[in-house]
Amino acid sequence: MSLETGNPANVPPLEIHDLTVAYRNKPVLWGIDLVAPAGKLIGIVGPNGAGKSTLIKACMGLLPCSSGWVTAFGRPVTQSLKRVGYVPQRESVDWDFPVSVMDVVLMGRYGRIGLFKRPSPEDRRIARDCLEQVQMLPFAERQISNLSGGQQQRVFLARALAQESDLYFMDEPFTGVDAATESAIIALLQGLRSRGKTILVVHHDLPTARTYFDWLLLLNMRVVAFGPTEEVFTPDLLQKTYGGRLTILSEVAEAVRGQGTLT
């Protein structure tokens, strides 16, 4: 952990209070309340359109919130971004961009290097180390379009590792990844957790969610349940999460959009 981690144990790595997020006036997340425990691997599951990606983007300030607040380590999240690591969805960038694998992983260091400074040999060493951890070091000088989907995902993971954060948000890091890579990644995440990091992972595969994660957030436009996997992974709660859309909530959302009362 970094030196700034001198906060008392009772300050949670992530606290969300009454968060509502809207896309073009249409609410997609309603009144989210959540206090994430430290040093846990947390899965975010829910049906398509449940707002899983929206939630983590809003947490990092990438989307505007209609109401509510998010703190990381006791401070507004925009002030503690140095301690937040991010693995975006693989499709979010153009993989034909003329950069090498090493260039991308070094981007994880940019927050620490500071504005207008060049990466130091130490930054390069850390980047190489992170590539080694995801077994991508032999590909360091490849151009990124020459990678398979799973390799691209591992490059993003290495970039997040290079951030050396305490709280990680990962948006579907297992899409397009073969089974062997998936278990390698999960082992890596478990290693991070055992070093006290908190990791939130958007995941869409229910059967594996049960074995991968310590805690689960069942999400469907609102928090259905949040707790240790063995308490939350029950047929009853899963039915509540996946069993049809909450029709009233969707309809009200449409109505709100029509009136344009939320901005």
Binding site: K57, M60, G61, L62, T78, L81, K82, V84, Y86, P88, S92, V93, D94, F97, P98, V99, S100, D103, V104, M107, Y110, G111, I113, L115, F116, R118, P119, Q143, S145, R159, Q163
Partner: protein, 482 residues
């Protein structure tokens, strides 16, 4: 679009225009000599100006191309025209600074309009860009034709902004262009890492607490700077080509962004200079079209000849690979004929080889000539013999074939009568490392699935990739043949 209108206007203007070519009706060789000796200050300004615009447009164009925002350059360059016209109106003179400021404000107003339209309406960015491009350009043309009718003022030179006239560049223009290029190079150099990240993954940049929006704005600002400073030399209509084409050529040549930047600015300089030169040769030739033609010519050359992606090198690689495969097949056939009589003789007849290759006699004779040319074989009237290096190559290819058959039957559990066709292709592509791997994985490597012995090789000769012309460079004897 307003292009036809622009042509009409330009021809109307050119009636009054004073150009270098008009003053001295000299022959083109003398003009060329004037250009290359740089004796004329007009030529010196033109060269300096086109070099500077090559750098700044090349650098910023690279960002447009990798970010898939090529249309923004087009929209911005057309949107500056009303600003140019108003800059003239300022004191009815061709004042570089007034025109620069006017054009800059118009360009920024154009890009602001695009961003407001995309944010507040359902319109997509390309639609907004197209609208802004056309309407600002139309406004600019109207203003310019109105000014043409004003009774006072020196209007000469305003039409150069449509198609560019490097010979009309003056010291004031060079100062503005130099300052712009300095600012562009300095800021991009200083913030290279930030501009790279903001272009590649803006979401991640925001999580790193980078002031993404400001870098975006700075980039548009620099783009407007570059476009406006290049106007005089290239013209409004074609300045976007000087942004896009050198950068597109550069991305054919390399796949690292810093190299794209360097290549793009070099190509921009070359196109600029040669455009200025060509337009200087004749009378009343606008610079912009010649610059763009030079840039396109360079692009075509890169498309044809760039080492990795060029059409000609790719065709050549494929052809030499075909030649190599044919040669290896002939070597293999010779080996098989030799094998069929238990290696009793050292030579085989051309007839036997023709039967084995199942080809016409003429084709086989051509193949033999090709083997002789690279010293893989020697031929007398109707017999062929392998040289030591040819023998080793033949052994290597047969070994690859039989090892692969063995691997398929052994490891992949494929029936022995299914593996031959596959091995016919694989034998030519197995590299040394792959052959080693096969040897490691197979329990015994003496006999192939059809019961024929697999030839062994000296350690240095495994693998098929020894180079097509590499005959005779290995001092080996008939060692493999025991």
């Amino acid at each position: 679009m307003g292009l036809g209108c622009a042509v009409l206007l330009a021809s109307a203007f050119s009636a009054q225009a004073a150009k270098i070519g008009d003053l001295t009706q000299t022959r083109w060789t003398e003009q060329a000599w004037r250009f290359v000796t740089l004796s004329d200050p007009v030529v010196r300004y033109a060269c300096l100006g086109t070099l500077l615009l090559g750098i700044s447009c090349g650098l910023l164009g690279s960002f447009l191309v990798v970010r898939r925002m090529a249309l923004l350059g087009d929209a911005l360059s057309h949107a500056v025209l009303p600003g140019v016209a108003l800059g003239f109106l300022w004191n009815l003179e061709k004042d570089p600074l007034a025109i620069f400021i006017g054009a800059l404000l118009a360009g920024l107003a154009g890009s602001a309009t695009v961003s407001i339209l995309t944010r507040t309406t359902r319109l997509k960015e390309d639609t907004a860009l197209g609208m802004v491009l056309a309407s600002f350009f139309g406004l600019g043309l109207c203003l310019m034709s109105m000014f043409q009718r004003l009774p006072t003022g020196n209007k000469s030179g305003i039409e150069t902004f449509l198609f560019g006239q490097a010979a009309a560049l003056g010291p004031g223009d060079i100062q503005v262009m130099g300052a712009v290029t300095l600012v562009v190079v300095g800021l991009l150099g200083l913030g290279y890492k930030e501009f790279l990240l903001v272009s590649f993954d803006p979401g991640f940049a925001r999580v790193l607490a980078l002031p993404t929006v400001w870098f975006e704005r700075l980039l548009v600002m620099l783009l407007a700077f570059a476009v406006v400073s290049a106007l005089q030399a290239v013209g409004v209509v074609l300045v976007s080509a000087m942004l896009i084409i050198p950068a597109a050529t550069a991305s054919l040549l390399t796949d690292r962004f810093h190299r794209v930047l360097v290549w793009s600015s070099c190509l921009g300089m070359i196109s600029g200079l040669s455009g200025a030169f060509l337009s200087f040769l004749g009378t009343r030739l606008p610079t912009g079209p010649f610059m763009v033609l030079s840039a396109s010519l360079l692009f075509a050359l890169a498309l044809l000849f760039s080492p990795r992606q060029g059409i000609v090198p790719r065709w050549y690689r494929q052809r030499s690979q075909r030649v190599r495969i044919e040669r290896e097949n002939t070597l293999k056939a010779i080996y098989q004929v030799l094998e069929s009589d238990g290696f009793a003789s050292e030579t085989i007849t051309v007839a036997a080889l023709t039967a084995r290759r199942r080809l016409a006699l003429a084709a086989v004779e051509a193949e033999i000539r090709s083997l002789v040319a690279v010293e893989f074989a020697t031929a007398s009237r109707d017999r062929v013999a392998l040289t030591p290096s040819g023998w080793l190559r033949a052994c290597a290819i047969v070994r690859n074939h039989r090892l692969w058959e063995l691997y398929l039957t052994h490891a992949a559990q494929i029936a022995p009568d299914h593996v031959h066709d596959d091995a016919e292709k694989i034998e030519h592509v197995l590299g040394e490392a792959m052959v080693r791997e096969l040897e490691r994985r197979l329990p015994r490597i003496d006999t192939d699935p059809h019961g024929r012995p697999i030839p062994s090789l000296p350690a240095s000769m495994a693998g098929a990739h020894l180079g097509a012309g590499g005959a005779g460079d290995r001092p080996v004897g008939y060692g493999g043949r025991t």
